[in-house]
């Protein structure tokens, strides 16, 4: 079965540089979520999109922005990178709203993550 695809898997940047992470959701999933996970920490919600519109916003820095495109893939743009931005960034997708059935109902499926290292 198709999974959530994230790219790149690893990224090394210098302070004050810019990085872009991409996420390709499972086909027919119209909702995308971004999470940030620091070492030894739980994933922190950044932002989500439903049908290409921002649906919820969490602890996302103003230096970060994101969008969902017409093909439902999403990109997370991070500017003026800081050392503290070094983390694993997860994208997850889920089916749209409304009643759901089957094994994937109401479940967020995660990609393998993009590991960002800021030097």
């Amino acid at each position: 079965a198709a999974g959530v695809i994230q790219s790149p898997r690893h990224l090394i940047k210098e302070k004050r540089e810019t990085a872009t992470l991409k996420c390709y959701p499972i086909p027919r999933h119209d909702t995308v979520y971004w999470y940030q996970q620091g070492p030894g920490q739980d994933p922190q919600f950044l932002i989500s999109f439903y049908e290409k519109m921002q649906s919820d916003k969490g602890s996302i820095p103003d230096r970060f922005s994101a969008q969902q495109f017409s093909d439902y893939h999403s990109e997370l743009n991070m500017s003026s990178l800081e050392l503290g931005d070094s983390a694993l960034y997860f994208c997850a997708s889920s089916p749209g709203r409304g009643p759901q059935t089957g094994s994937g109902a109401n479940v967020l499926t995660f990609g393998a993550g993009s590991r960002l290292t800021v030097l």
Partner: protein, 117 residues
């Protein structure tokens, strides 16, 4: 806002034995979903089991089962016949119904499970 609490940072279990991981949550909603996710050293987030709050029957998935106590807002995970591959960090997570805009997953702090051979 909903909160998820995992008060045990680490646990250890002997291979083939049973272990229970605890989780409590706080919410004012009556309809919601609860999940356990496993994160092995590869750091992939893998769904272990899910529970719909409107279902009284506890969910089971092979060696994994939950004890869902809605009134007590408790959601523990039992792993039977523990295997070396079960060693991982386990996150308890809460989700509002997808009909709501804020239907993100809220995670607990996680618990690191080690399995002794």
């Amino acid at each position: 806002a909903q909160t998820v609490t995992q008060s045990q940072p680490e646990m250890s279990v002997q291979e083939a034995e049973t272990v229970t991981l605890s989780c409590t949550y706080d919410t004012s909603e009556s309809d919601y979903y609860l999940f356990w996710y496993k994160q092995p050293p590869s750091r992939q987030m893998i769904l272990v089991i899910r529970q719909e709050a409107y279902k009284q029957q506890n969910a089971t998935e092979n060696r994994f089962s939950v004890n869902f106590q809605k009134a007590a807002k408790s959601f523990s995970l039992k792993i039977s016949d523990s295997q070396l591959g079960d060693a991982a960090m386990y996150f308890c997570a809460y989700r509002s119904p997808p009909l709501r805009a804020n239907s993100k997953l809220t995670f607990g702090k996680g618990i690191t499970l080690s399995v002794r051979p």
